[in-house]
């Protein structure tokens, strides 16, 4: 399965997607949940050092990339994963307040909180 197929369809048209070798690009697993106030994105990026993690929001596209680095020594008996680049893009709506976006990274799990702009929150209208 190539990374192109597993990347968000909306973002596949972006040119930068093709600059990475799909063989070594991992479309990591994510959970995305939306509440009235915010969107929360949780992604599994095991083996990434915080320095190697890059999160960008540009022109309505959220890009998350990170490097999985491994120290290699000795002779391999079993090898089920290798150094790789995690990469995934998501198209986000304009209703996200990008200024207030916060991120935390703990034991390979990235939690990204994307609060909705005030105007985009659902509002209950009272009838008097």
């Amino acid at each position: 399965m190539s990374a192109i197929q597993t990347t968000e369809k909306n973002a596949a048209t972006l040119q930068r997607e093709t600059t990475y070798d799909p063989q070594y690009t991992i479309a990591f697993a994510v959970d995305i949940v939306e509440t009235d106030d915010q969107l929360t994105l949780i992604g599994d990026l095991p083996g990434v050092d915080q320095r190697d993690l890059d999160i960008q929001i540009e022109k309505g596209v959220l890009t998350i990339s990170g490097l999985l680095r491994l120290a290699k020594e000795g002779s391999d008996l079993l090898r089920e994963f290798d150094e790789a680049r995690y990469y995934r893009q998501f198209k986000i709506t304009e209703s996200i307040d990008t200024e207030k976006t916060t991120a935390s990274f703990d034991q390979g799990v990235l939690t990204l909180t994307l609060p909705k702009a005030e105007t985009a929150k659902p509002r209950k209208i009272e009838i008097h």
């Binding site: 697993a29 009235d36 994963f81």
Partner: protein, 147 residues
């Protein structure tokens, strides 16, 4: 109950076929199916390397607490067990749910006995590193010849 057994048999067959073909071809890394909730392969993914006096095991285990990982060594086998718990968020609309949860257990057989009491492990950035020294009696010893 016959249906359940049938599925179980098919699952076992698929695992065996998976196991048989592992390592064939150009390489056996399958990065894009990494850690999804549908991962049929053994979890967690492991890298094992050997050096003169020890083995190194690295496991991809994102989002656990060090105290929730259980390691057991006996003879030449190492067992890794633990559970990844479901996160707190439950209300709201789910747009994606790809991350897997639940208990896991994987047993690994090493080519030689390991010194269970000298095993050390560390857990950082979702990677578990285990250092397994080989049993003393298996290490090559230089024997002085009296003459």
């Amino acid at each position: 109950m016959a249906h359940l057994n049938l599925f179980q048999e098919l699952d076992l067959l698929r695992r065996e076929v998976d196991q048989a073909f592992r390592g064939l071809g150009r390489d056996n890394r399958l990065p894009s199916s990494l850690l999804t909730s549908f991962t049929p392969r053994d979890y967690p993914r492991l890298n094992v390397s050997e050096q003169v006096d020890h083995f190194e095991v690295t496991a991809l285990l994102p989002g656990l607490k060090a105290e929730d990982i259980e390691l057991n060594a006996l003879g030449n086998t190492l067992t890794l067990a633990g559970e990844r718990k479901v996160g707190e968020i439950s209300n709201g609309t789910w747009h994606r749910q790809e991350r897997g949860y639940g208990a896991f257990r994987r047993t690994l057989e090493l080519p030689s006995d390991i010194a269970a009491e000298k095993i050390t492990a560390s857990y950082k950035n979702g990677l578990l590193h285990i250092h397994l020294p080989k049993a003393e009696e298996l290490k090559a010893r230089k024997i002085a010849i009296e003459g």
